[in-house]
């Protein structure tokens, strides 16, 4: 009778969300193997704290997204009233040229790593105030770097949620530590 031990399984790197499922499914499972970066990214993606910062109409839809029916809390998005505690800025609404330096300063006050969602067509490109208007900035990306653009005038709360989910996908695959190491 052959007593040959079973061949060792090739090492396998599970995606983090699958790994967590496996871990929870195993009785007594306590060990998880993952990359530190993936773990950090997973944690960061699951608790985005945006700055409560509304400019115009889109801010009302953003408020609706925070309220009961759409409930952004369930994907870990909790509004913070100060830029020092926030890592996400949702630029909701049109930004005037007078307001642009203040948006920039708020963005600079946020600690790294930080993300920007441009909500609505005014923040994205000037929207209906695009071609014959003297006071509105034609796109917030002239002032701060934008990660996700959410189209609409104004976008529905579902659209904003989709934008946040897209940003989460982006964060999950981000070479966050490697970039920091390269900069150091």
């Amino acid at each position: 009778m052959s007593t040959q031990p079973a061949a060792p399984r090739p090492s396998q790197l599970l995606p983090l969300d699958v790994a967590v499922d496996v871990l929870e499914g195993l009785p007594g499972g306590r060990v998880i193997l993952t990359k530190v970066e993936s773990l950090l990214n997973w944690g960061r993606a699951a608790s985005l704290w945006p700055l409560t910062f509304g400019l115009a109409c889109c801010a009302i839809e953003m408020m609706a997204a925070f309220a009961g029916r759409f409930d952004l809390d369930r994907i870990g998005v909790i509004p913070r009233a100060t830029p020092r505690q926030a890592d996400l800025m949702i630029v909701a609404g049109r930004c005037t040229i007078k307001m642009a330096p203040i948006v920039r300063r708020l963005w600079e006050q946020m600690p790294e790593p930080k993300y920007v969602i441009s909500m609505g067509s005014c923040a994205t490109c000037g929207g209906p105030f695009y071609y014959d208007n003297y006071s509105i900035l034609k796109g917030i990306d002239q002032v701060v770097p934008v990660d996700v653009y959410v189209p609409g005038c104004p976008p529905r709360p579902e659209a904003l949620i989709e934008g946040i989910l897209k940003l989460q996908e982006k964060i999950k695959v981000e070479p966050f530590l490697r970039r920091a190491a390269a900069q150091a």
Partner: protein, 359 residues
């Protein structure tokens, strides 16, 4: 000196208040506006009247888009002598009152958050979503509708809409009672609002305060009663007036206004006439040379549009008389002598929308 805003969780938009302080007491308040100036009056001169309807939604008070459309179209229809069929007038009245409730609910929720009562916000937005659903079924939009057109409305009410609207009206007074239960009997809320930020009647008139702010100071004036437009002349409703002039009175005026709006909607749906919803009007409306001023009662107060036409298909000049603008400057008069913490309560009670202030 204290700079409040332009980014501040309680300024309801991008308003900067330059507050001069003596310790905790306020000596002087100087609002710095223009952070949301969208030059909508200038842009209107280059767009046709139909295109301008879309602009009024966004460029003016964005919390009550239909009220803006109404003010602008009232001016267009009066100057052009455009007839609005009865059914369209009644539909407009119903929509305007729903808009008033939705706008007041946002005000109530955000003001309650400013004063530390977060729950009310969630309750208010729960009911507001139902109104937005009703809007969406009719106009297709939640916030910006472009529903009122020169000579009527865009589409008729869908089947079963009036039943759903009536169902909402039947249960909304119960929800109003919930807000009263949460706030009116709340001792913290009472202390923060009763007797705070008193706007005397004379000051209210002198500063041109309008709408619920003026009515809380004893000015019994409502454009819906004084200069009835659409179907308001044929409806039975009351205008709540209080004489105290403090934040508490402004709160009670708006709460009562919501109840009256429900009454108006119920009456209007009961009397809704059949027939056409839009008179035959060309897409590019050309108005005769002339000028007109139309005033309406928006949720924030006396919203007027002054329109000059030189016979073209675009307006020659549009001037918007914004209620929030005059209410904001009534603020500067009443904030003197109060503490810093009261600034939030007073500012919230006036219910300004910065898009309306700056335009």
């Amino acid at each position: 000196m204290l700079n409040m805003g332009p980014q501040h969780p309680s300024t309801h938009g991008v308003l900067r208040l330059v507050v001069t302080l003596d310790g905790e007491n306020i000596v002087e308040v100087q609002p710095d506006i223009g952070y949301l100036h969208s030059s909508v009056e200038k842009m209107m001169e280059y767009r046709t009247y139909l295109q301008n309807v879309a602009l009024t939604d966004r460029g003016m008070d964005y919390l009550s888009a239909l009220a803006n459309e109404e003010a602008f179209l009232l001016a267009v229809e009066r100057l052009g002598g455009i007839e609005v069929p009865p059914r369209a007038r009644w539909i407009r009245t119903i929509m305007l009152e729903f808009q008033r409730i939705a706008s007041h609910l946002v005000w109530l929720g955000t003001w309650a958050i400013d004063l530390g009562a977060t729950t009310v916000f969630l309750y208010c937005f729960r009911e507001r979503e139902r109104i937005l659903d009703l809007f969406e079924q009719t106009t297709g939009g939640r916030l910006h509708h472009v529903y009122f057109r020169p000579g009527g409305v865009y589409e008729d009410l869908p089947a079963g809409w009036t039943d759903r609207a009536l169902a909402f009206c039947a249960e909304f007074p119960r929800h109003l009672q919930e807000y009263h239960d949460l706030l009116t009997g709340n001792p913290i809320f009472q202390v923060r609002t009763q007797g705070v930020g008193v706007l005397p009647r004379e000051t209210a008139i002198a500063m041109g305060a309008c709408g619920p702010v003026a009515r809380a100071s004893g000015v019994a004036f409502d454009v819906r009663k004084a200069f009835p437009y659409e179907a308001y002349g044929e409806l039975d409703f009351e205008v709540p007036v209080f004489s105290q002039g403090d934040c508490w009175a402004r709160y009670l005026v708006r709460m009562e206004e919501m109840r009256q709006s429900v009454r108006i909607i119920e009456q209007a749906i009961a009397q809704l006439p059949p027939g056409e919803i839009r008179s035959k009007v060309q897409v590019t409306v050309k108005l005769p040379r002339g000028e007109v001023y139309a005033r309406t009662e928006s949720p924030r107060g006396d919203l007027g549009v002054y329109l000059v036409s030189n016979g073209d298909d675009t307006p020659y000049r549009v001037k918007i008389r914004a209620p929030s603008f005059s209410n904001l400057f009534a603020l500067t008069e009443i904030m003197r002598g109060w503490k810093v913490a009261d600034v939030i309560a007073i500012l919230g009670s006036v219910d300004i929308v910065l898009s309306d202030v700056d335009r």
